[in-house]
Amino acid sequence: MNVSVSRGGRAAVLGVGGFALIVVVLAALPYLVESSVTGQLVKLCYLITLATMWNLLAGYAGMISVGQQAYLGLGAYVLFIVNDHGFDVYTGTIVVSVVVGLVAWPVSYLAFRLRGGYFAVGTWVIAEVVRLVVIRFDALGAARGRNLSTITEDPVLRRAYTYWLAVVVMAAAVAGTYLVLRSRVGLDLQAIRDDEVAASSLGVRVTRGKRLIYVLSAAGCAAAGAVICVSSLGVASPTQIFGVQYSALMIFMVIIGGVGTIEGPIIGAVAYFLLDKYFSQSGVWYLVIIGAAAIVVSLYLPRGLWGLVSRHGRYAVFPVAHRVLSN
């Protein structure tokens, strides 16, 4: 019997082509629809970015973080510094990602002292420390938050630029995740996620792979933080941008959509976006239901909505798994 190893083949071309098409359509939208629509899509874009970044950590490297708001908040605050030093906020976002990624690298040595649930809480403590340190700087607005010092004056252009920034960051996050996972490192990561000890015994450099993902995820969250900061022209309150509710959001989106797939977080983000749009007026009960939904889905539908759609991984828009076929 002949066997061959496939990795999507025609499906992969269709998936990537489809994604590129969607990005092109999204990029053209400011010419086609009103700015209120693109304004809402900014939110959807950063939600997808955040969900994708959290999934990269949890779904591919087995690290459950409750502290990604550290990098999200840092993204916003480093953008203030970068902006004050003459960068415009759009190219500044690239600088922000790099800087925050460099910050996350030494921090990972601290966080990796802990595993599993304790890693989760350790990252939360680190986020609190970052917040408590940031609010000690008066130039960053202390505990009051602050505004961006220079940003495009013309409101129409500003909205369009902000939207394009959000689309670019989202596309880079999804495409970057796809490329990393299809690389050699991606294979290592999936081995680590499935069985860390076994992977290590086969010569996979476990800690190096996890550290790379931790740094990439921080950089992505920082870019999302910068997008949030640009879209609201600043930070209203450090407690909000460094708040654990962002982690709750990321976890919810990834669980609902399906952890450990590229498609899942996107679906989860869309689901949350719609829920938030139509039900957020119903007050605090809405958050109670969000929490309950996360519990029910993780208990009874562990592969999330995408798991239902893809019939437990048989179909994929972004195939990263190798599959053995008999010819």
Binding site: V66, V133, S298, P302
Partner: protein, 290 residues
């Protein structure tokens, strides 16, 4: 004398942290569940007590009993309905479930009681103190909480090391499959563990609420960090380490407050991170890291 006072107040504060952390440590030890809702359950315990006193006129000392029993019963339900299943589904599912609970509890409390504090006054006991020297006084109530937490930890120790159920619990912690082979139902051990964990954390939450004079819905986001920090500073798997961890965290916070009123939280977190860097097994750990 200010510094001695800060030290003493820190030790007294540490008692509550240690009591709150003991259940967290127990659940992790027996089931490998890191309960992210532990702080919110503590605050829920405080709410049960405060609501009993405020709305139903239950005597203050009795509210602690009501709260402990109520959360213990809740623990049984949570274990049987959610966590038992979560442990079968996947490695990280229990973490997700407890995180879901930590979203539900404070928001449900806000909906029911608003964001304003629900008071739980303890009258003259709250201010009574023993004056040791000028500027150095030990409050009766903080002293009582420290004694209570030593009692709780001693009780847990005696349970784990001197009773048949305790031996079974420790054996389940070491190897649940083998224990099942010799005829023990793991689920009963797990249920008992969670009942104890939630009962003790409710008591800690009640004492915390009495100490503060009241409770607000989102304080669990702080107390969960204190409880985890206490466990890590003290070292996993050691109840006396937990007491030491609570005291160390309490001292860090009150000395931080002595330095500057906006420093207590940061000082506590920094001590935790320093322990992670220089002594990851904790002060009394047995060489096992989390």
């Amino acid at each position: 004398m200010n510094w001695v006072n800060a030290l003493v107040q820190g030790i007294l504060l540490g008692g509550i942290f240690a009591m709150a952390a003991s259940g967290l440590s127990l659940m992790f030890g027996v089931m490998r569940i890191a309960n992210l809702a532990h702080g919110d359950l503590m605050i829920l315990g405080g709410y049960v007590a405060a609501a009993c006193a405020t709305y139903f006129g239950v005597p203050v000392w009795l509210t602690a009993v009501v709260s402990t029993v109520a959360l213990g019963a809740l623990g049984f339900a949570v274990q049987r309905l959610l966590l038992d299943r979560a442990m079968r589904v996947g490695e990280f599912t229990p973490l997700m479930v407890t995180f879901g609970l930590s979203v539900i509890i404070p928001n449900a409390l806000t909906q029911m009681f608003s964001n304003d504090a629900v008071p739980l006054g303890i009258g003259a006991l709250g201010t009574a103190s023993i004056d040791l020297a000028p500027g150095l006084a030990i409050g009766w109530f903080p002293l009582l909480t420290l004694v209570a937490s030593v009692f709780v930890l001693t009780g847990l120790h005696l349970f784990l090391y001197r009773t048949q159920y305790g031996r079974i619990t420790r054996a389940t912690s070491d190897d649940s499959r083998t224990v099942r082979l010799i005829g023990v139902d793991n689920r009963r051990v797990y249920a008992l563990t969670t009942v104890i964990a939630l009962g003790t954390v409710a008591l800690a939450g009640t004492l915390y609420t009495m100490r503060q004079g009241g409770v607000t819905p989102f304080e669990g986001q702080l107390t969960v960090l204190f409880a985890f920090e206490t466990v890590i500073i003290g070292g996993l798997g050691s109840l006396w380490g937990t007491l030491a961890g609570g005291v160390a965290l309490g001292i860090a916070q009150s000395v931080g407050a002595q330095l500057s009123p906006d420093l207590p939280l940061l000082a506590g977190h920094v001590v935790f991170l320093l322990v992670l860097v220089f002594r990851p097994q904790g002060l009394f750990g047995k060489g096992v890291t989390a």
